[in-house]
Amino acid sequence: MTTQKSCFNYRYILLVLCMFFILPTTTLASSLTLSGPEAVIKEGYFTVSVRANDMSELNRVTIEVASDSNFTESTRQFPALGDFKDISLTGFSNGTYYLRARAEDTDGQSYVSNTVEVTVKHYPLWQALTLFFIGLVIFITLVATLLLLHRQWIHSKQHKHHD
Amino acid sequence: MLISELAFEWLISLALVMTCAAPVLLVGLFIKDFISKTIW
């Protein structure tokens, strides 16, 4: 089972290496489209999808994420699962991110998609904490009410037994 | 503020141990009920 896992990672490492060294020279940007969220992301997660215009099948779909539009700074690779064309990405901090997709067709010809810009801006912390404390107050009130009323009942029951 | 590695390890390990204890407890209770004929 362990070998299975390392194979899994190894394959993607190979894929990533391929993309860095060979693929950029033979790309046709026109036939691969990446679409992402339009609005500002407030929760740090979003889903992007890759569509191919004139290809029946896509292999090795990978999303590249970078913090600049030239994809020179801190580029990260996210491989798609199996032959799915949608990828859910998560855990992004505040900032603007640039995304593009890479894929191969059945002949091994590789493609790069358009670049999508995604802005992540989390809710302000004061807003989150306000809601948190409102919730906390209602919750404490509820628990206290329930436990007090329950105790009163238990006491009155014992009282009746003593009479 | 990130959760520290130690807290993370404890959280997951504790949850896993508690989860594993559950079936033991449930089967134990069942045997007790079964012996004292109080299942239903």
Partner: protein, 478 residues
């Protein structure tokens, strides 16, 4: 070409084996059922072991195995801790269950209580809330079943969904509450063993340390204890869970079916047993980035990781665990909802003189009818119907205060309770659409609480608890 974690034939074999087993088991348990009380409430004599297991297993819905990893994948550490706080619903219901069992020694449903305690208007509002919630849940379970079986084994959505419904309706029909509770016990064991195995395997092979360091460098937000969105909906989630448990007949009928003195400790134990499970299932999602797994949609993350790391074995385990989780909730919901319809609508409103035999027959047809309706609603596979459950939070959270106060407080009257539930729901929905999903249950609970407070301050009536016990009246009817 789509690769599935499991061959379709393997998937079908597992389903058929389990299906035959559950139905036969249900039939075997059902032989004991003599009266409607036997059928609907397992003779009101369920022992501690089954009681604790059924409380836990029913709360382990498909959501615990799917949504807990999803929330963890999206919100990180708070996603799983927040989800595990739903155990508070079970824990807080424990004292109430004791009270319910003593107040309504002959009661059948939560609707019974609301009608006797608050009268017809509040009863009507309550039934609408219950039905909306029950159908939302039933449909989401049915659809989740079909979609999951399809994504794991390539089994056609309609076949998968139909099979799950047929199996659950089948054994509930034969065995009634006894079958529901006994199957819950076994399903609980399967679920726990399955998820623990997967989590243990991940810890052993990937390591907690490397998962933590990978997340710290690549997805630090997931380890952030001050993740705004996650902090924001924490209590909303809790109120949703409380509302679900406090109002739903699924939990009331269980409290009523337990042996005397068992209800309190059973719910408490069930809650404590449930508490760590979302953390374990959620943890599975945290390992995903380290393994290079990025799913097509976040709700697929749990099964995907398990199937990816464990291969065939993992896929089989996931398949069985999810199948069990779906079944343990679906059967409870079918049984509890048909009890509600049989008792509250048929027996109390339409045919007060119905004999025990008629009631049992009607209850059975109700289970079948609900199954068919759920099946019809699941047929089109409209994802938006499943999303119904998202704003169900506004509905159920409005019942929290009226139920708690109704059980213990003599001054709250029916009209205020009806208002609290109606306006709570209304404002909760408003909050959902105007502000966001993360306030629906919170607003609903707050508004209904305020109305209840006004109701208690302004009322000078004292409810007589003896009005709740209809025991003799039922016997006179026979």
């Amino acid at each position: 070409m789509t690769e599935f974690a499991l061959e379709t034939s393997t998937g079908i074999t597992i389903i058929i084996l389990f299906g035959v087993f559950w139905v036969a088991f249900g039939y075997w348990l059902g032989r004991k059922n003599r009266t409607h009380e036997d059928f609907a409430l397992a003779g009101r004599n369920v022992g501690f072991a089954f009681a604790a297991a059924t409380a836990m297993a029913t709360w382990v819905t498909s959501n615990t195995t799917l949504v807990a990893p999803q929330l963890t994948y999206q919100f990180g550490i708070w996603g799983m801790i927040g989800y595990s706080f739903a155990a508070l619903g079970l824990i807080l219901f424990a004292p109430m269950a004791k009270r319910i069992k003593e107040l309504l020694p002959n009661g059948y449903t939560s609707g019974d209580f609301v009608r006797l305690r608050y009268g017809n208007l509040a009863w009507l509002v309550f039934i609408i809330i219950s039905v909306v919630y029950a159908f939302g849940w039933l449909i989401s379970l049915g659809m989740a079943g079909g979609i999951l079986l399809e994504s794991l084994s390539g089994l056609d959505y309609h076949i998968g969904m139909t099979t799950i419904l047929v199996i659950c309706v089948g054994y509930t029909l034969f065995g009634g509450m006894r079958a529901v509770i006994a199957t819950d016990f076994i399903q609980a064991l399967i679920i726990i063993v399955g998820v623990s195995f997967i989590a243990y395997w991940l810890i052993d092979n990937v390591g907690l340390e490397s998962i933590h360091s990978n997340l710290t460098s690549e997805h630090p937000k997931l380890l952030d204890l001050l993740f705004p969105a996650a902090v924001m909906f924490l209590f909303n989630n809790i109120f949703f869970g409380l509302g679900e448990i406090f109002h739903s007949n699924v939990w009331w009928s269980r409290a009523l079916s337990f042996k005397k003195g068992v209800a309190y400790k059973a719910y408490l134990t069930g809650g404590l047993l449930w508490l760590p499970i979302p953390i374990v299932t959620g943890f599975i999602a945290l390992a995903a980035p380290q393994l290079g797994i990025f799913p097509p949609s976040p709700d697929m993350i749990g099964p995907t990781v398990a199937a990816a790391v464990l291969g065939k074995v993992g896929a089989v385990i996931v398949f069985i665990v999810i199948f069990s989780a779906l079944a343990s909730s679906l059967d409870s919901l079918l049984a509890a909802t048909s009890d509600l319809v049989t008792q509250d609508i048929f027996h109390k409103k339409l045919k007060p003189k119905a004999s025990d035999k008629t009631l049992m027959r009607f209850n059975r047809s109700c289970i079948l009818g609900l199954g068919i309706m759920t099946w019809l609603l699941c047929l089109p596979r409209i994802a938006t119907l499943g999303a119904l459950l998202n704003f169900a939070g506004a509905f159920v959270a409005s019942t929290i205060w009226p139920i708690v106060l109704g059980l213990y407080q003599r001054r709250l009257t029916g009209s205020y309770a009806a208002c609290a539930m109606a306006f709570g729901t209304l404002f909760g929905m408003l909050g959902y659409f105007v502000i966001g999903f993360y306030v629906a249950a919170l607003v609903s609970c707050a508004v209904s609480g305020l109305i209840c407070l006004v109701g208690i301050m302004r009322s000078n009536k004292q409810f007589d608890w003896n009005q709740l016990d209809e025991g003799e009246q039922i016997h006179a009817d026979k």
